[in-house]
Amino acid sequence: MSAEVTITPEIIQKHNVTPEEYQEIRSILGRDPNITELGIFSVMWSEHCSYKNSKKVLKLLPKDGPRMLVKAGEENAGVVDIGDGWVIAFKIESHNHPSAIEPFQGAATGVGGILRDIFTMGARPIASMNSLRFGTLDQPVVRRLLTGVVAGIAHYGNCIGVPTIGGEVYFDESYEGNPLVNAFALGLARKEDIVKAKAEGAGNPVFYLGAATGRDGMGGASFASKDLTEESEKDRPAVQVGDPFLEKLLLEAVLELLKTGCVVGIQDMGAAGLTCSTCETASRGDTGIEIDVAKVPQRETGMVPYEVMLSESQERMLVILKKGREAEAKRIFEKWDLHAEEIGQVTDDKIMRVRWNGKVAAEIPPRRLADDAPVYDRKAVEPKYLTETRAYDWRSAGKPGDLNAALLKLLDSPTIASKEWVYRQYDHMVRTNTTVLPGSDASVIRIKGTNKSIAMSVDCNSTYCYLDPYEGGKIAVLESARNVACSGAKPLSITNCLNFGNPHNPEIFWQLQKCVEGMRDACLALGTPVSGGNVSLYNQNPKGAIDPTPTVGMVGLIEGRQPVTSHFKDAGDAVLLLGTTREEMGGSEYLKTLFKVKSGLPPRADLAEAVKLVDLLQALAAKGLLKSAHDCAEGGLAVALAESCISSLGQETGAQLTVDAAGLAPEVLLFSETQSRAVITVAPERLEEARRLIAAQGYPCAVIGKVGGHELVINGLVRVPVEVLSHTWRGSIARRMDAAGGSSAL
């Protein structure tokens, strides 16, 4: 492709630019764009970069709070004040489409990208998590995807030395052919060390740092904004290859560089590469920027400006230095054996100018490009399938039969089962801060030299979101808050990744809108604003859209005490159930696993009740009363109790329990997924104190028995040896994966 290509309607269409958008581009430029400019507009105005389809909906989410230092959308990640001069920067981002095409590299570069977003803000990444969703493991292709994605995350995260401390793995047919890979990262900084991605001060030099540019990932941002089709299998060049070693060098060099104070602004070249980083930094600084693409280090020969500007080669960043401080910066680049090249400068004419061999290859006002992308009002229509699913009577599915067998079947369901097969492959201990390892409700990182710890959890029950997007969106936030609170933390803020189907379909857009409304209400009730996130639309496969999946990453703060874990500790400890169980079987894992039914009305979450429980858990933790705490979620009370018995390898124990059925059918008592419940244990000598505190807060509570023995016994309904529970739950994924033979070697 050369700069002299004539723009035809076909070329415009190939760039996913509508005729109206083309007219808008013409009016911005006052002329027709050349091919390079068209390419630049097409990637910046893709959904991935501009949020043109979701912007109006995203406005619903609360972004303000006393702890919010950098709000959603202002920078590459939100920043939250955790006191005493410390701040955390965190974000979750999708890498779904690249992972579908090339699971290993797709997932690996997803981790690389989110980490760069964090450390370019001046924060050292201290933890990663991820939310992964796949079809069912009986499909060889799904096993291949899981193997590749997990290996890719391990490859990148382990090498760069940021612990991958947890996350979720969820299996459902709707993700077949369109897996979701959402990567979360969290960084820590001193408040004064946070830097902005701004280009300021005319004459300041613009540096290119990191890997050379190749043709890989051409137009990845626009690629991520198209439906996945069988054709996409052939789109392989759009997948980039990551180099975690190089990124480790970049990470150390950038943090060292930022300490010197010679940096004006810095931004990762992620989606839309050089284009996005130049126009966004200039737009934020309200300046202009001028670069010469001939000076950009190139890995391949014969690249034209179009390709250099749109390439998504990994491990690159744009650094704007203070004029006169270049030598200082170069010393640091050399120390870390990094290639840096001065490619241009900041200007004051508010134009982004791209030069190539003395000629101007593109000239665009950056603010119009970065901030004035079209915003669409998409049509929202309630999906037809809801009429049927809402009316579904769960009893029509059938009888559960033997309840012991039913419980074991649920524990064997890969969505519920232990994710040890996955997290064993991640280095979750490097940096020696992980005080709660993966496998509890939330993972916890301590901050050395302080009395603070950060608890974090990523969650979304997409079946609920499918059956009732509003309640589902709400529950995703509330459940993540409960998980964090179970560790004794105060929920602070969320980041979200909105994974949906094609927004041009009004039913899909309705799902998006309702999910966001649910999230908004939950965030407002909890006082946890949204610090940032990402939107991934067009998650479709030939069979249709994925279930709506608004993944939530919740972050909470623990101060002055040890975190609480979810497993039972000592024989004789009292087991308490907080909350009330109601008949809420719609959308349950019970229906899905035992009867292959995904229907019914999912549980309703009462906001006041949910907030009360979160507060109560913190109050109990503050008094040191919680020996364990575990949220009741998928699989209901019986699964929560079983997990509490077995979730710590080598410390498994039984429990003898009697729960008041209150007129509920046995399967409802055991497997209903009523929200705002938790199973806690308290030392016997402190039981009265705990009960008084709970009563004072007015939360429903029942003492249901004691920890001990070698069996889990619930009323006359369940009696299973702990080793059977443990074997079933712990080996579920390995049994399915390893039965597949040596496919992991390929």
């Binding site: 033979g741 040596g742 496919s743 992991s744 070697a745 390929l746």
Partner: protein
């Protein structure tokens, strides 16, 4: 001039990756055709010299010092001259 270097695990060392691939080939129906699989590395060096004998000796030292770990790996190499390469391609 080019050097093509092949590094494989020594015969006496178990190659779990090779075993896994062999197993996978068996499940694909190639069990009868494949007796053993060894996975290794292929390294291509663009050389500046023109004397194949001298280059060969240098590449041998490179293998001994860095490219292979002779505790566990065997190596072999070929020096390919551009003319011969082109002739090969033409055939």
């Amino acid at each position: 001039m080019k050097a093509k270097v092949y590094v494989t695990l020594r015969k006496s060392v178990l190659d779990p990756q090779g075993k896994a691939v062999q197993h996978a080939l068996e499940t694909l129906g190639f069990g009868r055709s494949v007796k053993d699989v060894r996975i290794g590395k292929y390294i291509e060096l663009e050389l500046t010299g023109t004397d194949p004998a001298k280059a060969g000796e240098e590449v041998r030292v490179m293998c001994e010092k860095l490219l292979a770990n002779t505790v566990i790996e065997d190596y072999r190499y070929e020096i390919v001259e551009p003319a011969r390469e082109a002739a090969k391609a033409a055939r």
